[in-house]
């Protein structure tokens, strides 16, 4: 799971009003290089919850993102490179996502979060 996906995920357990962001617990991670596409980054930027991305990248041991970001920064190649790396090249292989309201643990195995709910959570 890349941080792009983590940034879009939200817990939908019955009764939870704000399931975002899911806290990230990392046991194992990998990096996979992919081509940088500035257009994609510019298009996705307004939809990113920046603080959640910064926190998640810290959990993966990548401290390079600035605490705050604004659209004008997208003109800087240096910024794009860091944003790209955090968003698309860091993968969580083993670990868990934790619902911010209930503390429910969604395990991540082989890079796949298990988001299946129990019957009483639907």
């Amino acid at each position: 799971m890349r941080l792009l996906t983590h940034n879009m995920l939200s817990s939908n357990i019955k009764g939870v009003t704000n399931g975002f962001p899911l806290r990230l617990q990392v046991e194992k991670s990998v990096e996979k290089e992919v081509d940088l596409n500035p257009d994609f980054l510019k298009n996705i930027f307004p939809k990113i919850e920046w603080k959640a991305l910064v926190d998640a990248s810290h959990a993966l041991g990548y401290p390079e993102l600035p605490d705050d970001a604004e659209p004008s920064m997208l003109d800087s190649h240096d910024f794009l490179k860091k944003f790209h790396h955090a968003l698309l090249e860091l993968h969580v292989e083993e670990g868990a996502l934790i619902c911010p309201e209930t503390g429910r643990n969604f395990p991540i195995n082989k890079g796949i979060p298990n988001m299946l709910l129990h019957e009483d959570e639907v």
Binding site: M8, L9, S10, S11, D39, I112, M115, L116, V122
Partner: protein, 290 residues
Amino acid sequence: MPSRPELTAPPEFFYNEEEARKYTTSSRIIEIQGKLTERALELLALPDDGVPRLLLDIGCGSGLSGETLSEKEHHWIGLDISKSMLDVALEREVDGDLLLADMGQGLTLRPGVIDGAISISAVQWLCNADKSSNEPRLRLKAFFGSLYRCLTRGARAVLQLYPENEAQLEMITASAMRSGFAGGVVVDFPHSTRAKKYFLVLTCGPPSLSSALPKAKSEDGESCSDDSDSDEENKTVSISDRRRPRKKQKVNKKGKGREWVVKKKEQMRKKGHSVPPDTKYTARKRKAHF
């Protein structure tokens, strides 16, 4: 159809290790799923600007559909209820991110973040009631409600599905409309039992020109339904938007109404005809003269 897998077992059991492998190594299936995905992408009508988007592949299975999305450079998140199918997707090193999830429990995504969604040969599974806890109507509602929320306004979802019968297709479509979607069903190759394919084409947000239904494909490669008033064989079935007030719909039946006239005029303009501009007088009701 001789046997529907939907009738044999819940999807997470039907798509076990053996079936997942069988499914993904069949060259016939690979070809069909690829073609269906290409068609779904076409119906998704993303802006033609070469910018990769963030898409969703619902019931992504072993990644046959997602691969077509990757070929077009898009990023995607795929979700599936079958662990065995996802394991095969991992083996095949698909580019999308995968989630083990049940669409019938609602999508676990933030509002307004997804640029478009496709689903290839999966949504009919929601109509299964093979567990006592499975209530198809509730599951459809959870699915379409969450799908509507996670899409950006104006985005589309294109769901290719194998409905068991008319009633099932109607139940699925009605549920989508109740969640706020506009759109309807496009049937490709309606005259061929084997090639016939159903696509539920949904637009998120207020109806507009962009939510007008695209045309279906027919055997000879020509679009087979030309206009809303063509013959009975017309296979592009439009479903009106649920938020349009009832009264207005009635008027539309008799006198077409302003919306229809404006749309028609726009179509004519696109075809290069000279058409008077739209004003407050356009399609205005006329007083009865004696």
